[in-house]
Symmetry: C2
């Protein structure tokens, strides 16, 4: 790890461009966090990333009431691609959803797609809260990108709009299904998504609709009944370890 | 699934013996849950397991003020072994610990061993609360056993008392380490444990001590920094999918 990285007081996601000598104005929340939580001072270093320009060590150059700016000194990591893995999930109640978004971001998911299935109890999702959780997890995990949070869609809409070339690993609780390890091996190198259901699972009509589609592969996550969030995280971890960037 | 299982109003862990015609007295918490939360009536079915005698459908036969008894009618699953996988983990603050115990139980862990490392901030653990979380997750996940919750030990004590024949997969954030998939393949068929650190990881002396032991295998969980609980669950899921009972 370079000296700049170990000395940095925080790692922050920004939307503006990054490059040598570029001064970045941090947003209000970031300024508050730096000045009042971390008690950072001008001259302290932060790490910045925006999903495009890699990671930069930047020096806090002004900390006035009107905002905090940081000037990019040196690139600490070049931008590189991350595995193309989506997670489509039936939202669950608040805390598990927060947890799911954070953990999925740490595990390197690229897109988070909420899906309202017939047995989904949660009627609305807070996309802003999901995005904030995703950004925080990206900052802490060292990712160079932030997972994209999609607007919630109905189950039917999800299937109708799913890109045909993207394999969909459907975590199926009942009936014959491929082991997740095998499915991960077969999806290696291609665009992939994982689909997990709500507490109570998919209903029979949904299971039948999924199994009839050519891009869907039903997968099994072992002999025990997993909660919705456990299933999603287990599937992502196994996929990353076999077909993603963990090996 | 047999008719008895789909009709059951609850699945409960009990400590007494189970067998045809045996009447089991449920504890106060279970009685309250059945009568006042689920509004169960005499004649309703419950599923019972004790970690030894498989799973039984039992009929609620009395629901008096002094307690609820259920009479075993039919065995719905015979007892079978589960993978011998321990998780030794540095405890984290309350909610993540609850979450970790629940998820690890769902993922089929057999022993949960809290370990106090040098960077562990949590000073005390609530073993009773951990046990309650483990039982609830075992009931809901369909397990026939409940994970054993061990008393917390220091890092030095853990290493000194670790059974030499049990491989210990040490989730190491820094330096060269085997991919978790490879480590899982190599530990297949033998007793295994997974060790995860606190937020902030193991300190250099701890890492050196671990790496010097013949039964320890350092493993990697990919290029991103995972929170302590994410690392534990990812490692367990991958191990189960490759060396456990998921395939």
């Amino acid at each position: 790890m370079s000296e700049e990285r170990t000395e940095a007081v925080a790692r922050l996601y920004v939307t503006g461009d990054l490059g040598e000598g570029v001064a970045v104005t941090l947003d209000e929340g970031q300024a508050h966090y730096l000045l009042h939580v971390l008690r950072a001072k001008p001259g302290n270093l932060v790490l910045l990333f925006n999903g495009r320009d890699g990671e930069w060590a930047a020096e806090i150059s002004a900390a006035a009431k009107r905002g905090v700016t940081a000037k990019c000194l040196q690139q600490t990591e070049t931008q590189h691609g991350t595995p193309d893995i989506w997670l489509a999930f039936a939202p669950v109640k608040k805390t598990p959803s927060d947890y799911l978004v954070q953990k999925a971001a740490e595990l390197g998911v690229s897109v988070l797609q909420p899906v309202f299935t017939r047995r989904t109890i949660v009627a609305r999702i807070n996309e802003e809260r999901m995005a904030a959780n995703a950004i925080e997890a990206a900052e802490q995990s060292g990712r160079l990108t932030v997972p994209q949070i999609r607007a919630g869609v109905s189950f039917d809409k999800l299937l109708a709009s799913w890109p045909q070339e993207r394999r969909l690993l459907f975590c199926d609780e009942g009936g014959d299904a491929k082991a997740m390890t095998q499915a991960a091996r077969e999806s290696r190198g291609g665009p992939t998504g994982i689909l997990t259901g709500p507490e109570g699972g998919f209903d029979p009509a949904e299971r039948a609709a999924l199994r009839a589609l050519p891009f869907v592969m039903p997968v099994s996550l072992g002999p025990r009944i997993l909660r919705a969030d456990t299933a999603a995280l287990a599937a992502l971890a196994i996929w990353q370890s076999i077909a993603g960037d963990w090996s």
